[in-house]
Symmetry: C5
Subunit: 99 residues, 5 copies
């Protein structure tokens, strides 16, 4: 999985019928120092993440191992909202102090 | 998924029989600032996207989770025509004002 | 899918038994301006592509959605010989005028 | 698989229900000279790896070929704790002498 | 598939039980001019490749389309030992003259 920060949303009406009702978030990948990477994903979200939150995203076929997504043409999903990231005993991110 | 802009088409007559009738679009990936990336895909399209439109593409096995594509040797599909992309409450793209 | 140009062949006798009889082509990926990318694939070919031709390759599990390949350890296949590539109404490639 | 060094952990409470009880390690990829690459993964760990250890990670659908993970939205798993890495008859890494 | 040169081995005792008995080779990817790329894989080997040999590796789910590997958490396998690589009628590699 990769760490990413929620930055926005993508909206579409003309799409594969199975994608109806799916919320698409634009998330920016974050490196292991907490800095933004020049890589984004448009990820299906069922966890309820909001702009500014750090999340874990799963890509590829793993993105469809979410209830209801098995037969949707999705290759990226938000699978968790992150509480803390700890690297070598230092707190890189703590949701509690960010909000 | 990635955001991409439709730029053209690829036509082939000598191909895997299961690809007969599939429309292949050449799409250029777009970054999270709205700029073109030096990356393209040739994506199967069933949504009916036209040149200049922004679309969402799904890659890998997800591209085959489109009705009729399950057993086609496809690794990229257009899955949605984008209406709007919003990043940190700013409108990055709006189909209504582009056309 | 990606556009690629056939450049050569790879031959092996000591290999997984299921690969017996499969032709392996070395193909160079081509960018959306028609220039070679510093990326190649060794792709299984059942379409009958020849050196110099432009082809579409499918990678990942899609490469095995070709008749007979379902249980072969293949991650790239030639799935079409390209006739034409058109980008913004300009002809980038035309097999008829190249040969 | 890729070689990686365990650097930390990622904790989340609000997540896909199937991820409950899974330990997520932040691991940094290591190149073939033993140097850190600017690439990390957040990998599910069932092997019991600790910070500082070198591990093998498997990505993509292979990450779910671990007992109990088949239907979890996971795209990276720690599958082994490395004892030794030998390159051209030279020992690049030996867990016994590192600890 | 990608062309790679066998450089070494990775040994582990504490690992997923299904990986017991699998030989892991460290292989360096080779570009289409025969030069080493800054990319390696740790690939499961059942073909019996030795250090210095050029091999074909298959990555992703294709790596598990090898007898016995279907349910192992493997994302790269050696699937062939290369005899010859020919690019535009020139011999890039010939195992017979290398050994």
């Amino acid at each position: 999985m990769q760490i990413a920060k929620v930055r926005g949303t993508v909206v579409s009406t003309q799409k594969e019928p199975t994608l109806t009702g799916i919320k698409f978030l634009l998330v920016q990948l974050i490196d292991e120092e907490g800095q933004p990477l020049p890589v984004y994903e448009v990820a299906a979200d069922r966890v309820g993440a909001g702009v500014g939150e750090w999340v874990l995203i799963s890509r590829g076929s793993g993105a469809r191992e979410v209830e209801g997504n098995a037969n949707r043409p999705i290759d990226a999903s938000v699978v968790a909202i992150i509480d803390t990231v700890t690297v070598e005993n230092q707190r890189l991110y703590d949701k509690g102090t960010q909000w």
